[in-house]
């Protein structure tokens, strides 16, 4: 916490920048996390589908053989 009045004045002139800096970081991290999260979720779903389909395939080839 800045208590010195002079320094307070110095910082008050520039701290208007902070919401934008924080916003930029929030966007960056949110973007990356959301993207990776969705990719992982889709990957999981597809993995399950593959398992089911390939099990079905194996069963059918077993029936035929």
């Amino acid at each position: 916490m800045v208590t010195d009045p002079t320094l307070k004045e110095v910082y008050s002139l520039v701290l208007t920048q902070w919401p934008l800096v924080a916003g930029a970081y929030a966007l960056l991290w949110a973007g990356l996390v959301v993207y990776v999260g969705f990719a992982l979720k889709r990957l999981n779903g597809l993995g399950k589908q593959v398992e089911v389909l390939e099990a079905a395939l194996a069963r059918r080839s077993g029936d035929a053989g």
């Binding site: 010195d4 002139l13 930029a24 970081y25 593959v50 389909l53 390939e54």
Partner: protein, 308 residues
């Protein structure tokens, strides 16, 4: 496939740790550079103290912003020194040891203002540690997309088309992130959300090229044709991007550049760690999407076999 997901997770872990480290380095280790200066009447112990300032003033109205400062005014042959109470285009009022003295602006001859000068911290610069690496990765991945497109044209193998498309998706992701952080920084540093400034303009053109790639892909039905058209367009786009980058030199630029040897070690190290971390994250996203593509292929082939 397994190998893609494993690689993706390893890269994700490395990228996550490095970017987190870079984040900590950027905010708690690297200093905040000065962006101009601020003047105050009093002196305080501060790392930002740049020294005293002592300025000549030739008109009374120029003193208007210096209330509380130590001033010395010569008017009508007499010199008065003390703390400035107020000043405008008609008069100057000064608090001296003997009480307040008012001098009219018409009699004003010369004046001096004394105070302290402090560096003005530039918090907006903190975007640099992530904005610049993300922008660099977008160029690199665009290059990979063009390379895979070229490989596709030479070999006509479907895997290269998939690789080019996934690279382009990663490019789009990073381009969007660069745009978003860049626009916020522009507001912080220049006071406007957007400026038709060379770097911004060319980056915007590059964004449009990447978007156009996907528009093109989505509007071609035949699969082989889609792959070929997309490959040709991404190569053309990759040739065009540097041309538009350089031609914009016709307009003078405001965008900051890093001066040679201009970064202190804590800043430089945080920056380099952020760069490596971002490369790892880009690679992780690429591998994740590739794994997804391969799984989709497996599902397709399993479905066609089941239908038979």
């Amino acid at each position: 496939m397994k190998s893609h997901t494993t690689r993706a997770f390893i890269a994700l872990a490395i990228g996550g740790v490095l970017t987190l480290a870079a984040f900590l380095g950027a905010f708690f280790w690297a200093g905040v550079p000065d962006f101009g200066f601020v003047r105050t009447a009093e002196r305080t112990d501060s790392v930002r103290y740049q020294g005293p300032f002592d300025q000549e003033i030739d008109e009374a109205r120029y003193l208007a912003n210096f209330a509380g400062y130590d001033v010395e005014v010569t008017a009508g042959g007499e010199t008065v020194r003390g703390d400035l109470v107020e000043a405008d285009e008609t008069h100057v009022t000064i608090e001296t040891a003997d009480g307040e003295v008012t001098v009219s602006a018409a009699e004003f001859e010369t004046g001096r203002v004394r105070g302290s000068s402090y560096g003005r911290p530039d918090w907006g610069q903190k975007i640099f540690y992530f904005h610049v690496p993300v922008a660099e990765i977008s160029f690199i991945v665009f290059g990979f997309a063009a390379f895979y497109s070229l490989r596709f044209i030479m070999t006509r193998k479907r895997e290269y088309d998939t690789k080019a498309r996934v690279s382009m998706e990663v490019t789009l992701m990073f381009v969007m992130l660069t745009m978003a952080t860049g626009i916020l920084w522009t507001k912080a540093a220049w006071g406007v959300w957007w400026d038709w400034e060379p770097r911004l303009t060319t980056y915007f053109i590059m964004t449009l090229l990447v978007v156009a790639y996907f528009v093109l892909r989505n509007s071609v039905e035949d699969e082989e044709r889609r792959a070929m058209y997309a490959a040709v367009f991404s190569i053309l786009g990759f040739i065009d991007a540097p041309i538009s980058f350089f031609i914009t030199r016709l307009i003078p630029s405001n965008h900051p550049v890093i001066e040679r040897g201009g970064l202190e070690p804590p800043m430089l190290i945080s920056f380099i760690i952020a760069q490596i971390g971002m490369i790892a994250l880009g690679y992780a996203i690429y591998q994740l999407r590739m794994g997804e593509m391969l799984l989709k292929d497996r599902i397709e082939s399993a479905k066609t076999q089941l239908e038979r």
